[in-house]
């Protein structure tokens, strides 16, 4: 049988145009030339609009969906493709699930260079292989110039939950211990350093990472005592703690001195007038654990490469206002509230 002829894409100078989204030969060329090799796996290679997947018997299924619209598309420590894998895998892992499969839908702006698209697809493929979670099905659409910021990626993730695990954001109780897996603010600062009109240079890399390995170690060490996990992405640690406070109907008492912040992240935040508490992270998690399991949990986290700087940062308390109270490193007190809108650099 002869192999179907595929016109090779001009990777150097070629750009996506509206024909690549119309379902015809051009789109097939795009998929073959860029996505097929980037993601190569047995499910995708079947070439159907749906993936036929084995699911572990007797386990509960966990599903999540996400969209990635980050700008710039390429930033220190990652790109929209690697971010999409990490973020989706993490959403599954925060529930304690073993991530199994991903889907990826690309909305591409007319005029987007093939070279950039390939770079993103290759990165996403490599990241998914490294995480052990294949992209089993996908979709491609092309929209007119100006209707997408280069490319948007929408994902779904499917995982399987071990028996008896019931992590949930409403399970924190007064007395529970709050553990943070590492330094905050890295991702947001890395992104900002590539934005126009904010011309500072820093060696800070995004902390974007898949956390399911760390989570597996945490479950093994303190499974029965673990109440919930959440990754502090948009809105930062402040948003996550406030969400959890309201979901669980508790307050939190946090000690600023225990929260790890890299010196360069602290410095960049000082320069721009930002507070690291509100800056996004993409490779960190917050865990709430019953006191009996705290020590074992911390030890297990610190033994893992993604949890070396893990720290106990406070505890849940009874609080009718659901306040997140923080003792500042200075010794005074303050409330850590949700951020209103996006944090903007300030002059005052």
């Amino acid at each position: 049988m002869t192999k179907t002829y595929r016109r090779k894409l001009d990777m150097k100078h070629g750009r996506v145009d509206l024909t690549h989204g119309s379902g015809g030969r051009a789109m097939a060329d795009l998929i073959a030339g860029i996505f097929r090799d980037a993601f190569a796996n047995e499910f995708l290679d079947q070439g159907n609009d749906q993936a036929n997947l084995p699911v572990p018997a007797g386990r509960r299924m966990v599903m999540t969906t996400d969209a990635y619209v980050v700008s710039p598309l390429f930033f220190p420590g990652g790109d929209i493709g690697s971010l999409a894998v990490h973020g989706t895998v993490n959403d599954l892992a925060m529930g304690g699930a073993t991530p199994l499969y991903l889907s990826a839908s690309f909305i591409i702006e007319e005029g987007f260079p093939f070279a950039d698209l390939k770079r993103i697809a290759d990165s996403m493929g490599a990241t998914s292989r490294e995480a052990g979670v294949p992209v089993v099905t996908g979709d491609t659409k092309v929209v007119e110039r100006g209707k997408a910021d280069g490319v948007f990626i929408s994902t779904t993730g499917i995982g399987a939950l071990p028996d008896g695990l019931a992590l949930s954001g409403d399970r924190a109780e007064p007395g529970d211990v709050v553990v943070l897996s590492g330094s905050i603010g890295d991702h947001g600062v890395a992104i900002m350093s590539r934005r126009e009109n904010l011309t500072f240079e820093t060696a800070i890399l995004s902390d974007s990472a898949a956390l399911h390995g760390l989570v597996a170690a945490m479950l093994a060490a303190a499974g029965p005592h673990l109440k919930l996990m959440r990754d502090p992405t948009r809105g930062g640690l402040a948003a996550t703690l406030n969400e959890l406070a309201h979901q669980s109907g508790v307050g939190f008492r946090i000690d600023e001195a225990t929260i790890p912040v890299k010196p360069q992240v602290a410095a960049a935040c000082e320069l721009l007038g930002l507070d690291p508490l509100f800056v996004a992270n993409e490779g960190k998690l917050v865990a709430v654990v019953a006191p009996a399991g705290a020590a074992a949990l911390l030890t297990a986290m610190r033994a893992h490469p993604l949890g070396r700087e893990a720290a106990i940062i406070g505890s849940a308390v009874a609080c009718e206002h659901r306040f997140v109270q923080m003792t500042t490193a200075f010794g005074g007190g303050r409330i850590v509230d949700w951020l209103s809108g996006e944090q903007l650099p300030r002059i005052c």
Partner: protein, 384 residues
């Protein structure tokens, strides 16, 4: 960070707090206004008020250029950027300040206006140079700290021969505002302003020096202590103010000696003097129309003055009648005493600028101080 971390030492803070408590006379109260919004923010962020004795109160002053910008000027900026070909460059602080009828620069941007957030005034000049087809307007705000950077930008635009760069100038003056606060007539239904002394602004003072504050010490008999930006600086300055009050002195003292000299930054003063002159009048949110309180570009620089270039005619816009920003900016009322606080007016849906700006008294109270009435000092001791 050098010259920063050592002035944030919590252990030393608690010791100084003990000294302040020991030195403050128990049979009187002390009320000090920290003029500068940056100090308001630092006081809130570090929880400094938790460390002060109960008879010592800090009053948050109007030294927040975002907070005192009247609604009408935001409306002007929005109208400017809606003209064809205009690019408005602004600091991030102004994006969410409410204009009339709930408008804001952020909303105007969402509706398609070419508004660009910048970090430095020189970024606006760079944009003008890179995009000669655009009419670039720089929305300049700030007290004397931020005025020299605008002057540098204008100087740069001149030397590059730019014809598409102009400044919408809203720079305001600190000592004039301080005087206006002390001179505010007390209405029958309002409490009098009881200010015993001022924590003087840190970075305004690096520019203007110590001399401009002399009138407050000599004429008004109010001590002024210029304080650095870090929490230990603020506490040291408070201690110095308490000592002055106890000694019945009224002097201008400088705690921020590492950055503020008596003469200030003469280079910056000369540059500003060359480019700007004092307006006869300028409206402030909260203080009304204050004579000789703000700057505009001199005639020689008319080509760079957005108000002349675009014939800007500011229309006064009334604030929500229930909004107490005015009384709060004058230190007469506390945020919690405003009927709109926490209900209609929140950081998500701000009515007045005191809530929008992160250093406004209302935003600071919302974020840091809302629960303080429920807390006792014991809570701080428990945590330490």
């Amino acid at each position: 960070m050098k010259y920063v971390d050592e002035y944030r030492d919590g252990a030393l803070a608690r010791q100084i707090a003990a000294t302040i408590a020991a030195v403050a006379h128990p049979d009187r109260t002390y009320a000090f206004m920290e003029f500068c919004g940056g100090h308001t923010h630092a006081i809130s962020r570090y929880g400094i008020e938790d460390l002060l004795p109960a008879n010592l109160r800090l009053i948050h002053g109007p030294g927040c250029p975002v907070c005192v910008l009247p609604t009408g000027r935001i409306d002007d900026a929005i109208r400017l950027v809606q003209r064809p070909g205009v690019t408005l460059c602004t600091y991030g602080d102004l994006m969410r300040v409410p204009g009339s009828k709930g408008a804001s620069l952020l909303k105007a941007k969402a509706a398609g206006a070419d508004i660009r957030m910048i970090y430095s005034s020189l970024d606006a000049v760079a944009i003008a140079e890179a995009e000669p087809a655009r009419d670039v307007v720089f929305f300049a705000i700030g007290f004397e700290t931020t005025t020299p950077p605008t002057a540098v930008a204008i100087r740069q635009a001149v030397s590059k021969g730019l014809t598409n760069f102009s400044v919408f100038c809203n720079h305001v003056l600190t000592p004039v505002a301080m005087r206006a606060i002390l001179e505010t007539p007390v209405a029958p239904n309002e409490p009098p302003i009881a200010i015993d002394g001022f924590v003087g602004p840190a970075h305004v003072s690096t520019i203007i020096g110590m001399e401009p504050y002399r009138e407050f010490a000599e004429t008004y008999r109010k001590p002024v202590v210029i304080a650095g930006f870090e929490p230990l600086d603020v506490m040291q300055a408070i201690l110095m103010l308490v000592r002055q009050i106890n000694d019945q002195r009224a002097e201008v003292e400088n705690q921020y000696i590492r950055a503020v000299t008596a003469a200030g930054n003469v280079t910056a003063q000369k540059l500003c003097d060359e480019i700007f002159e004092i307006r006869e009048n300028f409206e402030w949110r909260g203080l009304g129309v204050v004579p000789a309180s703000a700057l505009r570009l001199r005639d020689a620089y008319a080509a760079f003055d957005a108000e002349r270039r675009f014939s800007v005619a500011t229309i006064h816009a009334d604030d929500n009648p229930a909004c107490e920003c005015g009384a709060i900016l004058r230190g007469q009322k506390k945020p919690a005493e405003c009927k709109l606080f926490g209900t209609v007016c929140t950081p998500e849906t701000p009515t007045g600028a005191c809530m929008v700006s992160s250093e406004g008294a209302c935003a600071a109270h919302w974020t840091y101080g809302r629960f303080r009435e429920h807390q006792t000092k014991a809570a701080v001791q428990m945590a330490s």
